[in-house]
Chain length 596, copies 2
């Protein structure tokens, strides 16, 4: 159950598909030279594989536990988190001004992938802390930045996101937690928040809760929500810790997976009120929270890729090791099960989906860097629009992909896969949260349909289709069966995506429920078409390298075969998704509620 | 988390699709009158819903446990099993001559479904006992039948299947357990068996292990395997229990799901040898074991349908109850989430797949009854060939279907689905074993390709395609959008299935690995096409009833809408499966083992 970071594929995607050579020329990204990036990735691989990965299975067996308001995390987590912070990994993508390394998102992405592949449960603490840092960078006052950013970025403290309340799952309009101004610039916060990841733990000196709450005169609904900093320990003017704040963990959840990650119920203000300070302006909390959410959504997409790759690595290792039954083509004795076609099919399915999702996510990270750092404002705006289209796709598709990939990971192990000792089942359990938290796939799909497709009349989506078609034209230039198959399926995929975008835009006014009946399927379609596009681009690069006699021929041949597999087995689903979206909306709402 | 047996759908399928009126006229099936069947199903629903279903979630939280060679089952299991046996449920499909009720498989099928929906873990004990009964009925000596059948059929004792050994998962050729003749008609059995469901427990006085082992001069491989009865307690001539046999449970597994069902490691002969008697003839053990396996495989298919329906019921109840966010079409306040299109889509997907798989399985059971009881030998043979084609499809497709349905069951619950207390996650965990045990889906698919398709040149498969086409012609007689969509997708499905059967038959000699690269996908394709066919037949019946003004119009309208949904959303995948099988085999074996 070791983890070996796929550095070769990561660097290939970064350099050949996601534009690292261009991004490293952007203002502020100059440190991301080829050599630095290679060194950072190697160091990250060493730390994640050597220090974090070995904690993953034991911490599932002996999860974090609650006792009298405290949470003791799994054995080794505290020490590992100390090492993580000290080595600077929390700060990889954050400003040097506050102690970070200031590297582009594209360089952070593989490091984040490695950390999550090593242990989803462990990596969630840095993930939430990243979100808090982003929100404070964007909306915090200079005093708040001075107080909180450096300890967060250096891993001395950690951060949380407090949205959900018992009566309001994904519906933030229903938030009831209230914040009463004390007249001294502080507020007293009262309420209950649930599902707070790392809401309490023993890995850091302080926990900085970012909490959505309503001020007394706030308008109802989402327009009356403000964002507050409520630290576990109040912070003195000199940065030292003051009194324990009135924010207490009353229990943690017993979950299907990510058991080592404590999911807290937090009670604010049961003993007089939790002291908080307002972030940014009143009633703009949702907007700030979306900053955290967008960063977190991208990272959760990376989680899907990470756990899927871990499951793939484990299944491949088992399949090479486990000897059972003769080869179908004849063999003197039993052979390793990787030689059996259905095992191989599952491994190829896992591999090809991981590679496609990784490529799409890293390309997304690169687009995010362009949106942030490009010197030209129009280019920034265009890349921002593209990035915002891609984020729900990366989050939704990569996470649902991880469910099927970790499922195949169990299946490759046969009966052993069902035994917890084997470890394959843990990935299957862990992965299931990814399509739920930080917004379920349906919520990502609402975002994709509403804000990302309908609002611009499908313009960004169509611009992507046009880019896919340009790749199709390039594919025509390679004359063999693999490229012909990739081209055929990509053409059908882009046609399906275009048809669905047209359907969405055309029907949003007249039949909104029909459109949203297929929203998740549209997201899935966008995922496989855009993922298939990246695999096609990868195959073209690989062919060029092979033609030129450059680099590792085995790697490039495998990349082309994997792209072919993805086209035939995954991209080929595009047509049925179009049918389900366009024709299939009729059946979705056909029954009365009473008929269920 | 209650369970209400879907009696209306069950009776509809039995009467209108699976031929109960014809089957109840077969010799030996005359007791299965309409009124008796209705009464049996109602009684079963009462027992399963009232006695077994409430044990399911608590027994997951406090599973069976091992202590010093003994296994204590979860609270309530022992008493429930006593009630189960006394009420005659173990004997429902077994001969009256040995204390059974002698009802057709078609009547047993819904009872089995209900029991498994109530608790997969509990119902596994009767499932394995059924297999032991079938093997003894077919191959046991009259003495063995006299000794073992009545206690097994009346639920006094239980049975097990002992195939797997640590070094040999699915590969029975590698079985090493040995049986040494003692010269007195008995054998001493030595060896280790793993993954033995209910291999040890406290619910019955005795456990009858059916064990695969090799006699001293047996040929190597699967042709040298014999089947032995090795009871936990030896049985005296008068049927009373004698000495404890040397068959001991040394541990039970810690599993992903079905935690209340003890999965034993059994050690035979560590203290001098476990006394066993040969079943049937030497070296024909595999053949007899296949009798148990085929019965068990059908039953495991029913497990898939059962747990999927339980997950559907729980998700639908939650979705009707949980109020969150406004209606997309506008509403004064938040509404029950069942009104949100994506929740509805998931519920329809769950419902339609459960109904399709149930219909196919019950039709299969009816075919099994015809194969067993039809007075005409040719009709028996034809139905047997059909039944044998359907069993791997029912087992493989229904179980993989249950994985996606229980997944959606978690998803409908959102964050609550990930919390074990909610109970949705249990179904997801429990379902994962179903596509693994009694032969993984790949093994079902090997059977479907090898023995069930290639051997007769695709004749049975093609005869099914012809029957599907006859239904397509009938669909053309109803002129509306629902039937047009069902017809269109069914036509594409039957064309895909035919093309794949041709591909399999044409390539088995020339490129066996290409054929088996798509074997699981072929099984899935057969499942959705044959399931879609049943839904189309159901829609036609429903339309006739509506036209005639007969029966429950709401039920029939829902059936048509559900058939339409299945066509657009599930059957529409047929084309992509054909692509993956026919074009996609190229990519499956393309990489060298070293490239993984």
């Amino acid at each position: 159950m070791s983890y070996n970071a796929p550095l070769k594929d990561m660097l290939f995607v970064m350099n050949e598909l996601a534009g690292l050579p261009v991004i490293s020329q952007l203002p502020g990204c100059e440190d991301a030279t080829h050599d630095t990036v290679q060194a950072v990735l190697e160091e990250s691989a060493k730390f994640c594989g050597g220090v974090i990965a070995p904690l993953n299975h034991p911490s599932d067996k002996e999860p974090s536990f609650w006792h009298g308001g405290h949470v003791t995390t799994s054995k080794g987590f505290k020490e590992a988190f100390k090492g993580f912070g000290e080595a600077g990994w929390q700060g990889i993508q954050h400003p040097t001004e506050f102690g970070g390394q200031g590297l582009p998102k594209l360089v952070a992405a593989p490091c984040i992938e490695m950390l999550h592949a090593a242990s989803l449960s462990f990596a969630l603490c840095p993930l939430l802390t990243d979100g808090a840092i982003e929100a404070l960078l964007t909306a915090g006052s200079s005093e708040q930045k001075a107080t909180y950013l450096e300890p967060l970025i250096t891993g001395k403290w950690t951060g949380t996101m407090n949205l959900t309340e018992p009566q309001a799952g994904s519906d933030l309009a229903a938030v009831r937690t209230r914040a009463e101004p004390q007249g001294d610039g502080t507020y007293k916060v009262f309420g209950t928040k649930i599902f707070i990841t790392y809401g309490e733990h023993d890995m850091a000196e302080n926990i900085i809760h970012l909490v959505l709450a309503r001020t007394p005169d706030a308008p109802p609904g989402v327009k009356g929500i403000s964002l507050f900093i409520v630290p576990k320990f109040l912070v003195n003017a000199d940065g030292t810790l003051g009194a324990r704040n009135d924010a207490h963990c009353v229990s943690i959840e017993h979950k299907l997976g990510i058991k080592a990650s404590p999911t807290a119920v937090l009670q604010f203000g049961d003993h007089g009120g939790a002291i908080g300070t307002l972030v940014g302006e009143e009633n703009r909390g949702l907007e700030y929270m979306f900053i955290m959410m967008n960063a977190a959504r991208f990272a959760v997409g990376m989680q899907g890729i990470a756990v899927a790759d871990r499951a793939y690595q484990q299944a491949a290792a088992f399949a090479k090791d486990r000897v059972q039954s003769r080869d179908l083509a004849g063999s003197p004795g039993p052979v390793a099960i990787i030689n059996h076609p259905d095992v191989r099919r599952m491994l190829m399915s896992m591999r090809s989906q991981v590679e496609a999702a990784r490529a799409l996510a890293y390309v997304g990270a690169g687009v995010g860097d362009m949106a942030h750092s490009h010197p030209d404002a129009d280019a920034r705006a265009a890349n921002l629009a593209l990035y915002e289209y891609l984020v729900p796709v990366i989050k939704g598709w990569s996470t649902e992909m991880s469910e099927t990939v970790t499922r195949d990971g169990v299946q490759v192990h046969g009966g052993m896969g069902f035994i917890e000792e084997t470890g394959a089942a843990q990935h299957y359990r862990d992965a299931k949260i990814l399509s739920i938290y930080e917004g379920t796939t349906a919520i990502q799909a609402n975002d994709l349909v509403g804000r990302k497709t309908v609002r611009d009349g499908g313009a960004v989506a169509k611009s992507l289709v046009a880019q896919v078609r340009a790749t199709e034209a390039e594919l025509a230039g390679v004359d063999n069966a693999d490229f012909a198959a990739i081209r055929r399926e990509l053409e059908q995929g882009s046609a399906a995506l275009e048809a669905v975008v047209d359907f969405v835009v055309a029907n949003i006014k007249g039949d909104i429920k029909a459109v949203f009946s297929g929203s998740v399927l549209y997201l899935r379609l966008a995922g496989i078409v855009l993922g298939g596009w990246q695999m096609a681009r990868a195959a073209l690069v690989a062919q060029r390298k092979l033609d030129a006699g450059e680099g590792d021929a085995q790697f490039y041949k495998a990349k082309i075969a994997t792209a072919r597999f993805f086209a035939d087995h995954v991209l080929s689903q595009a047509g049925s998704l179009r049918t389900a979206i366009v024709d299939g909306s009729a059946g979705v709402m056909a029954l009365d509620v009473g008929q269920f």
